[in-house]
């Protein structure tokens, strides 16, 4: 567990650097972003110029386990959330397979998995709000496997 988190952190650094390269502020902004954790700054230029992170993570059918690439993405989110006082909504969703009430529970279980991981990364639990929509708000309509994949998700808002 810890080991994979470390690997994730390493990858996150690389990705942050890469992200920095493609923006106008090069390595500098990326580094600031990484070290910013300690000091509560109100004006945060580094965050303003940072590339927006993908805010949706996906799951396998009837599963709430975080996939490896999801962990990497969540570590980046955690880096940005730490020290940020605003509340973040974690919206859990399910695909159309299975019953609606069970899927409501499954959506919550997924959002809880994301919350627990973020808290492990040092994000204040009280800033995270979990809500499940089950299968009631699909990202994509239709019964194709690709639509279902898109719907088994947690949206970080």
């Amino acid at each position: 567990m810890l080991k994979s988190v470390k690997t994730g952190l390493g990858l996150a650094c690389v990705m942050a650097v890469m992200a920095g390269c493609s923006s106008t502020d090069t390595d500098d902004s990326a580094q600031q972003q990484m070290t910013q954790v300690q000091e509560p700054v109100i004006d945060t230029p580094a965050q303003e110029t940072a590339v927006p992170l993908d805010n949706v993570v996906y799951f396998d059918f009837d599963q709430s386990l975080l996939k490896p690439d999801t962990r990497e993405l969540l570590i980046q989110h955690a880096d940005r959330m730490r020290g940020n006082a605003g509340t973040v909504r974690l919206e859990g969703h399910a695909d159309e397979l299975g019953t609606r009430e069970y899927n409501l529970a499954l959506g919550e279980r997924r959002a809880n998995a994301v919350r627990d991981f973020l808290v492990l990364q040092g994000v204040d639990a009280s800033t995270l709000e979990v809500i499940s929509y089950g299968e009631e708000r699909p990202a994509q309509n239709g019964s194709s496997e690709s639509a279902r994949q898109m719907n088994r998700r947690v949206v970080i808002n």
């Binding site: 159309e96 397979l97 299975g98 019953t99 609606r100 009430e101 069970y102 409501l104 529970a105 499954l106 919550e108 279980r109 809880n112 979990v130 809500i131 499940s132 929509y133 089950g134 009631e136 708000r137 309509n141 239709g142 019964s143």
Partner: protein, 431 residues
Amino acid sequence: MIKNLLKTAFIIAVASISLGARAQLVVDITSGIDDPTPIAVSPFSWSGSGVLAEDVSGIISADLRRSGLFAPVPKEDMLSFPKNPEEVVFRDWRILGTEYVVTGRIEPQAAGYLLTFDLVNIFGRQKMFTKQVSGGSQQLRDVAHRAADEIFEAITGIRGAFSTQMIYVQEDTRGGRPSYALMQADIDGARAKEIRRFSAPVMSPMWSPNGQEVAYVSFETGRPAIFRENLRTGARQQLTNFKGINSSPTWSPDGTKLAMVLSKDGNPEIYVLDLNTRKFTRMTRHFSIDTEPNWMPDGKSLVFTSDRGGKPQIYQLTLATGQVDRLTFDGDYNARPRVSPDGKTLVVVHRSRGVFTIATMDINTGRMRVLTETTLDESPSIAPNGAMLMYATKRGGKGILAAVSLDAGVKYNLPSQRGDVREPAWSPYFD
């Protein structure tokens, strides 16, 4: 007797007449039993002025056909249109193979209509009964359904459920945004009307045992919350506002309690809310998902879905002792149980070879039987006479309602003319 029954029906019908008789769901029968009983409902006479707003004998024929147990004779094939038993020529009907003939006469009444109808057994060469049903000026359809109930019961011995209703969820797009409505309609899909419209999802409608209220889950507050609403007055009350899931409300058979699912303790647990004392009692303690409670008819235990064994399966919770017993073992996905009115059969959503279907399970023997062969079948709801169930399925990418008899012999679809429809809840009897 019938008159008394209709008083109750009157109150309910008054609330539902506003949109008139325009049906939004149309019956499409896909399978019936091999040897349905031929019956002829001869067009009724009308002694009042003008033309009746409804084809009463036609509605009775449609009810009987939808049950799958009868093959009504088309009007065009009838050799005569008898209006009373004396006019029934037995030989003519025997030639057609007709086993029963219904005759009837409609008369105007001060506040509506009076239907006098007779059931004649052709092969037994005898009148079985003459009965009367009356209704208000907007209740011709109710009068017809009541008569169909009487005919159905006299021949089959099973109480008719043609006078019942359903509530379901309709989703459509308005102004580019999804819009959700709780709909109430006759069980044949006619006289559909909106109970309430929502801009956020609404789910899990459940009738109170007296048929006067509905409990449901609405996301209008930004998270799921349980509401109860009076169907006649429209008065409603928010019952829960806990952090996390508030879902699956289901009334106890005596109507005094509501079982539900709350995840305020960290994961979904079954609770029972006493509607008089407003006290919540936690019924399950397990780290898994516990959801979708439904009461046994005696009110002493609940069946529910839990994945405590790794996969969703049905369990029974005895309320007095807290003991939990697993009921389903067949297949790796059994969920959302509903119990038949006699308490002997469980209806579940069952996954078999990757396909979600509706299945029954004999609670005593554990024997399971798949009833449906459509796709993504869910949300079964059993008729109060235990003969049929309504469920939600998909056809052509669209959510539709469908019905199947508990012995799987009879099937019909109720596609919607607008939007997706789902989560049908079959009403109890209204008397």
